[in-house]
Symmetry: C2
């Protein structure tokens, strides 16, 4: 399988390296020639450039590593070059754009989402190790078995630990909890800090919990707003639980407080298996 990666940011570049290392023929397209030069120097792509026209005809699979709203633009721009047997996938954190994309694309589009990332962005943040053992979600909508298996193949090749297939709608629900809510919490926690000296007072739990408060506001505001109904629901559910816990304090209800802690402990231990 020959692959074109569109967008050599943190995720795109990590895909390129992981797939090149596994012997795939990988091409790259991105906004700046500087990043293309780096990708060539590092030997994570066979060839590449800032214009995709030359590379689209060479490949079987196109992975679009752009911001969700830029996917449509890319497809509109290059649609005339796509061949029917080519497959396109993305890496985007929301999947409510799939119908729109499929309506315009001349070749088959299938959504997928690597559940690994970094608070850093750009090609210099390349880190394919984060894929090892991570979750990978595929969100078919009227897709062929062939497209599903092409995407599964690269996920396996990159070392992802568990591949789950789900509808785009369920994906967006799931992601509003496991990814977007956690980012909303981290942002709010850091913003509620009014003490200059906090860095001298923290333990590792605060640092771990707030790492993702270093957030790319352009990408994440887009992700949040395009999935706002799900995310608002999750914020409400979470706030309800925090309110329950607060009430055990207000009422000095040690028994109920311990129950909440025992419950979270049991539930969280599922992740250790």
């Amino acid at each position: 399988m020959k692959i074109l990666i569109v967008g050599l940011g943190m995720i795109g570049a990590s895909y390129a390296k992981a797939l090149t290392d596994k012997g795939y023929e990988v091409y790259g397209v991105t906004r700046t020639q500087e990043s293309i030069n780096k990708a060539k120097d590092w030997k994570i792509i066979k060839d590449g450039g800032i214009d995709a026209s030359k590379f689209i005809p060479l490949v079987d699979l196109i992975v679009i590593g752009l911001y969700p709203k830029d996917i449509v633009d890319f497809i509109n721009k290059y649609n005339h070059l796509f061949k029917e047997n080519q497959v396109i996938t993305d890496v985007a954190g929301v999947k409510n754009h799939i119908e729109e994309i499929q309506a315009i694309s001349k070749c088959e589009f299938i959504g997928s989402h690597p559940m690994a990332g970094s608070e850093k962005s750009g090609i210099d943040a390349i880190k394919p190790e984060i894929f090892r053992g991570a979750n990978f979600l595929i969100t078919p909508r009227n897709n062929s078995e062939r497209a599903i298996s092409m995407v599964s193949e690269i996920a396996n090749a990159m070392g992802f630990g568990k591949i789950t297939i789900m509808t785009p709608e369920y994906h967006d629900e799931v992601i509003s909890f496991t990814s977007q809510l956690t980012h909303a919490i981290a942002v709010s926690l850091v913003n509620s800090d009014t003490d200059e000296n906090t860095p001298s007072h923290t333990g590792d739990s605060y640092r771990e919990l707030t790492r993702i408060a270093m957030i790319n506001e352009r990408l994440w505001s887009e992700l949040f707003l395009s999935n706002k109904n799900n995310l608002i629901k999750q914020i409400d559910k979470f706030t309800e639980q925090l309110e329950l816990l607060k009430n055990t304090l207000v009422n000095d209800d040690k028994e109920q407080l311990e129950k909440l802690m025992i419950s979270s402990c049991e539930k969280r231990k599922r992740f250790l298996k």
Copy 2:
């Protein structure tokens, strides 16, 4: 300096190992002979037992690694053995018991708090590496320079990165934000999960954020309740921020949402320096 560690749990045992490795003469007292035997086998104490009577006269500094409410019991039980020039410190996560302890103790008591821990407990969770570079808080109340410098000395010896001296009242405020609120959030986040399959859908951010939801309910319910006024205030401040963020979603206010993210990003970057 000769040191007695009371309570060879995760923290006490890690103190014992870190201090023994630095050449201090360390004794240990804990509830079970089994743990004493382990501590001796591992050579993290010179000697120890389940009764402190024999060891108290041997040492300059006593570190009480027990739950906050058990500190008073320990001091009451052994007060008749304390000598005036001995110093006692603790490791407890709240410091509102200091006046009560100082009122009864025959020797000098000074509060301190290592800002490092684990979701695991007991001697088998021993892990002195977590102290390396971590924050350490000392909370004097009418204490001597000698007591402050004895506690600073062991914190330095154990590899803590930054020692901060503050009042017990400020400590409890600080800790309600950096430690208790983060645990309350993690517990509530995990408890708000209603999907059986979440472990297949998470990225590293959810896993990092919820590690501390595996919480020792006996210890933490005590810590939360004894510091409830501070913690309730922090929960309210945090909830206000999360509500602000939610409102940007409700109002489709991308500009304001991006501002919140830029702010959290800037604030969190202070930790990288």
